[in-house]
């Protein structure tokens, strides 16, 4: 069974490389660049893993995360949060809002792909 990954990220070149890598790893990938349409897209296309950038045009990643975790339909979707800030405060907020994994940019491709695989497999204990 093919597993789906939704990338919510506004930088098209990052989306392109992640899409390439995840597709090569066997995932079906969709992407959206705007925070406002993320929730609509989720309703129509529920992924096995959501990659969510923290800073997005429209609704930011933290607000999307808060909304998803307060909605029973999305409360258990595994979420990998990406941020360009390595600040501990952002990490703490993301984890307290219910992100399963948190990675800072610039990331290593292999780490992101492995994290997505682990999230899709429910193997989340060792994730950063």
């Amino acid at each position: 069974m093919t597993r789906r990954v939704l990338i919510v990220e506004d930088e098209p070149d990052i989306v392109e490389s992640l899409t390439f890598l995840l597709t090569r790893a066997g995932f079906v990938v969709k992407s959206i660049a705007d925070g406002n349409t993320a929730l609509t897209e989720l309703t129509a296309w529920l992924p096995e893993v959501l990659i969510l950038d923290a800073m997005l045009p429209g609704t930011n990643g933290f607000d999307i995360l808060r909304t998803l975790r307060s909605d029973a339909r999305y409360a258990t979707v595994p979420i990998l949060m990406l941020t360009a800030k390595g600040q501990r405060r952002d990490r703490d907020i993301a984890l307290s809002l219910g992100a399963d994994c948190f990675m800072t940019k610039p990331f290593a491709n292999a780490e992101v792909i492995q994290a997505v695989k682990d999230l899709a497999n429910g193997d989340v204990d060792h994730l950063p």
Partner: protein, 466 residues
């Protein structure tokens, strides 16, 4: 303890330090020794004409005698004692007044150090605040990290031996090309932003304000004019040392081991301080109040230097010796500090364009002068690569350096004979003071925040991961 007791103690300590007997001082100011004894033991109040007379005899200002200086110092030390990070209960309960009266130099030094600490803390807070809240910086950093992420991720894909379709490969190569161009533009605009911050930076300390105030060309002209007039007053053709000695109402004590140039330097300064110098007053007209004492001292020193070595003497010497600094110092009776100061002072009058930095034995910057725009932006030269941290007395150390940011400079450093201070002249990159064959030294902002990972002089790891 009241200001009266501070005055009594201060008179006694100063009198003793100057080797003046109680009887002699009492006689000079027209009171009985027993009355002076009562004043010094804080049994009698003192003020007005008598206080002024004692101040004159002991070369102390009314401010320092009537306790104004001590009260200010006392407030600073009380703040230090109550400071959570450096103070303690022992300090709070100690006798600060007695400490100030008995060890005024130490008390002032302590207050200065505490002032510097407070200024440094304020700057760190301001910088932290800027990094956290400066919207331009935050935006630029976010953009850069995003661009670096795209670049890194794409470069990893391209370097992966796994097969990529030609069409995909071309797309990723285009991304690398575009993202690296974007990154270069973002980095350039970020550097420009830092430059603007630096240019808008106001002086942080009173000494820095004083140095900035005195850096204009009209100040240099006033210095030379004042020195020329004072020299004329001393009498043409007379031996300078003898003339200065004769002109001084109260010549300073000159240790026997001092050479002639050091004696003349000390006498010249005393002569400037004693003289009416309207140029000083005019030059300091718009000087900020906190910087006034420093600016007065700096200007007096400059005029004294101009008496010791008039502009035409320095320029003639430089021209004759092709600005060979070692030869010039020898020709100036070994007075390297004077030669260095005069070159920096006279860069607008024909000397090579140079800035001057003087540091003490601990490496702390004491003074910056001359062409300030040639000097590094940071006042403290924390990087151990700077030649002035290795300079010896007796020879001028020359080097080419590359400043953080990439600008080049040539420098010439020389330690004072006692090794307690070092002067460094900083010239433009093409000034011809250092051998073209020498490899430039890469100086950084200090090991903690320096990215020169291979530096052989590194003293501690950098907090910046390179």
């Amino acid at each position: 303890m009241s200001s009266r007791s501070v005055i009594g103690l201060k008179i006694r300590e100063t009198r003793r330090a100057q080797g003046i007997r109680q009887n002699d001082l009492a006689g000079r100011v027209g009171i009985s020794p027993s009355y002076l004894n009562l004043i010094e033991r804080n049994k009698r109040a003192i003020g007005g004409a008598l206080l002024a007379a004692i101040g004159r005899e002991l070369s102390l200002s009314i401010d320092s005698l009537d306790g104004t200086t001590e009260r200010r110092l006392r407030d600073q030390l009380l703040t230090l004692a109550e400071d959570e990070t450096v103070g303690s209960q022992d300090l709070r309960s100690g006798d600060i007044d007695s400490f100030i009266a008995r060890h005024p130099a130490w008390a002032r030094a302590l207050a200065r150090i505490y002032g510097a600490l407070a200024a440094a803390q304020a700057e760190i807070e301001a910088l932290s605040d800027r990094l956290t809240h400066d919207p331009v910086l935050a935006e630029a950093m976010h953009t850069m990290l995003t661009e670096i992420t795209a670049l890194r991720s794409t470069a990893e894909i391209l370097s992966d031996p796994a097969e990529i379709l030609p069409q995909q490969r071309r797309r990723f190569e285009r991304i690398v090309d575009e993202q690296s161009s974007r990154l270069a533009r973002t980095a350039t605009s970020l550097a420009a932003h830092f430059d603007r911050i630096s240019e808008n930076r106001r002086p942080r300390t009173a000494i820095e304000e004083a140095e900035n105030h005195l850096s204009g060309s009209d100040r240099t002209g006033a210095t030379e004019t004042a020195a020329q007039r004072l020299l004329t007053d001393l009498g043409e053709g007379r031996d300078l040392e003898a003339a200065l000695f004769a002109a001084l109402k109260r010549p300073p004590h000159l240790p026997v081991e001092w050479g002639r140039s050091k004696r003349i330097s000390s006498l010249s300064l005393a002569y400037v301080i004693q003289s009416e110098v309207p140029e000083i007053e005019r030059a300091l007209e718009h000087c900020p109040a906190p910087a006034l004492p420093f600016a007065t001292d700096l200007l007096s020193r400059r005029i004294a230097d101009a008496i010791c070595m008039p502009a035409e003497t320095l320029l003639h010497l430089g021209s004759r010796l092709s600005w060979d600094l070692d030869a010039m110092v020898r020709a100036a009776d070994g007075d390297g500090p004077l030669v260095f100061r005069r070159i920096a002072e006279l860069y607008q009058a024909g000397a090579p364009r140079a800035g001057l930095i003087s540091v003490d034995a601990s490496g702390a910057t004491l003074h910056r002068g001359g062409a300030l725009d040639l000097l590094p932006r940071s006042r403290q030269l924390d990087c151990p690569v700077w030649p002035l941290h290795r300079a010896r007395s007796g020879a001028v150390m020359r080097a080419k350096v590359v400043l953080p940011g990439g600008d080049g400079r040539q420098v010439a450093a020389r330690a004072h004979p006692d090794g307690m201070k070092v002067d460094m002249l900083v010239f433009a990159a093409d000034a011809g003071f250092a051998s073209e064959k020498k490899t430039p030294l890469a100086v950084g902002p200090g090991c903690r925040i320096c990215t020169h990972s291979e530096c052989a002089s590194r003293r501690e790891p950098s907090i910046i991961d390179t």
